[in-house]
């Protein structure tokens, strides 16, 4: 009796150790993960005159990364993620234009806090709902923020935007330059910090719980996981990150208009993420970069053509490549490996 007990205890320990090993191994840095950062640094030296565009790409990556946390990992489908981007953008914009607070880095913190707060409050109310109801509620939240801004256009500047924003030099020393070099490096560093943070989250037990909620809410409820609290937590974090992306957007462009709250903005970030692949961190990098470069190229040729192209791309992704570009690469790699084996 005693023997079999200790035997099962060691079996249990072994299983637990395997689980811990699995969780730990996910944390480990893989060499391929350096690739996007090397590409970003290489881009800095290869296209020095396109760095203003480069920082827009980095901001899009950050925004898509925040959506990946809630859509890709927790499975929350929202049509109003632009709300938090907009709150961040207007936090630094209004602070600089109306309060004379134009220090950029503290501005980012303020944006993160306010956007996070908005995420906490709206998430606490909205994340009880699912499906169409949730889609409509998130969409309505973003539009109501936009309408509020429009209502007080004496403060927000309305659709004409906030005029003549200027920000202090970074760390009191690196000023804005014509080619956007300073802001590219700034955006890259901020993205790096945020990425490290997001990576920690998704590979932690908390991240595992989120994936569990995405895969089977009922079972998570059944095993006693505090589903609502976890969803609200991740929604708040994602909102804060989207807020930082929005703040960087205002700082790099030195202007902001109410169009940041547009439905188009929410839809665009979702398209980027889907294009790259959801629930895999680097999907945001690939998707946002591919989308921004294509948009930059094709919309110059013809905006109508670009709109048709993006529509077609969405249809094709849903029909043939549901796991995005990275998913396609993975499948191609897998089928190659299969062919090599025999």
């Amino acid at each position: 009796m005693g023997v079999s007990n200790s035997k099962s205890a060691t079996a249990g320990d072994a299983a637990r150790a395997r689980a811990a090993e699995y969780l730990l191994s996910r944390h480990r840095f893989r060499w391929a993960e350096a690739l996007p950062w090397l590409v970003a640094i290489a881009a800095f030296f290869v296209f020095p005159e396109r760095m203003t565009f480069g920082s827009q790409v980095l901001i899009a990556v950050m925004f898509a990364l925040s959506l990946d946390l809630i859509l890709g990992y927790a499975g929350i489908v929202t049509l109003g993620h632009a709300a938090f981007f907009g709150i961040g953008a207007y936090t630094v914009g209004l602070a600089a234009a109306r309060l004379g607070w134009s220090e950029p880095i503290t501005g980012l913190f303020a944006a993160a806090i306010l956007a996070g707060l908005a995420g906490l409050i709206s998430g606490w109310f909205l994340l009880r709902y699912r499906g169409l109801t949730l889609l409509m509620l998130t969409l309505a939240t973003a539009i109501m923020l936009q309408e509020t801004g429009n209502l007080r256009s004496d403060i927000s500047g309305g659709y004409d935007g906030l005029p003549g924003l200027s920000f202090d030099p970074l760390l009191g020393r690196f000023d804005y330059d014509l080619y956007g070099h300073t802001y590219f490096i700034y955006a890259l560093v901020v993205l790096g910090i945020i990425f490290y943070f997001v990576r920690r989250i998704v590979y932690s037990p908390f991240g595992q719980a989120l994936t569990g909620i995405r895969e089977n809410v009922r079972r998570m409820h059944a095993i006693g996981s505090p589903v609502h609290r976890r969803l609200v937590t991740v929604y708040t974090i994602a909102a804060a990150i989207a807020g930082v992306a929005g703040a960087l957007f205002t700082q790099t462009n030195a202007y902001v208009t109410l169009t940041v709250f547009d439905f188009d903005n929410s839809a665009k970030v979702m398209v980027m993420l889907i294009l790259g692949g959801t629930g895999r961190l680097y999907g945001a990098f690939v998707g946002a970069t591919v989308y921004m470069v294509m948009e930059d190229y094709f919309s110059k040729l013809s905006p109508t053509f670009w709109q048709f192209g993006i529509g077609l791309l969405l249809v094709l992704v849903v029909l043939f490549a549901r796991r995005g570009v990275l998913g396609l690469i993975e499948s191609a790699g897998a089928s190659l490996a299969k062919r090599k084996k025999p």
Binding site: V77, L132, T148, L314, V315, L319
Partner: protein, 290 residues
Amino acid sequence: MPHVANIAVSVLFDGLAYAMFLFITSVGLSVTMGLMGFVNLAHGAFAMCGGFFVVSLTRTLGVGFVPSLIIASVAVGAISVPFERYLYRRLYKSTDLEQVLLTIGLAFMSIATFTYFYGPIPKSVPLPGWLQGDVNLGFRAFPSYRAFLIVVGAALIAVLWYAFERTNIGAKIRAAVDNRRMAESVGINVDRLFTLTFALGSGLAALGGGLAIQLFGLTPSFAVLYLVLFLIVVAVGGLGSLKGTLLAALVLGVFDTAGKYLLADAGGFFIYAVTVVVLLIKPAGFYGRE
């Protein structure tokens, strides 16, 4: 008539006309979403398509306004069938997200296509004489076009109500909305039923699109611009409920019109505030099942 009452009558009348437009355009979306749980963000594209058909028929081919409306609805209803058969059908069992992406992709493609052929400038339609000017109802005059909209809406409500509640096909649709599996197991061909309601819904959307030209002007971006309104009507009314869609259209139509009359600056705020309040209290909408 005293000033306040005059405004109240105007708000009610315009709100009613607006509600009829919302109802006609959204009812098909509600029924198809209730039947299949399919989130169709391309519904506005069918409405926009109908609107442009009406523009072409009246302007280029010289067909009358009312016959054009009927031809456009039938044509769009027919066009929607292959979309349902070959694209939508593949995604009935997919997640909300995939349905959202596919249909918004279709909406973008349709906007680009119509921009290519018709350009981005708002289009109008020539109206027959009896739809221009005012109609006098004894105590005061109302714009004829809005009165026409209310009459058309009321007639459609009567027809749809009869079809839904009193015919065999209507009974089958209600059964399938309530419990799809049960309906299938008693021998109802839900797939075919769905194709039929999808075509009907798209046709009605096209009719709504045609009727909307005079109210808002028609540009290709109509497909996305007003889509949010249709979705709100559906969500607030409750999926698959005729009664709910009508009630939601009335409430939102009147509230929106009142908001725009009384507080012009607040613009679209009211309709969204009402939506949020209703959905927070009744997540499945007025007549949806929780």
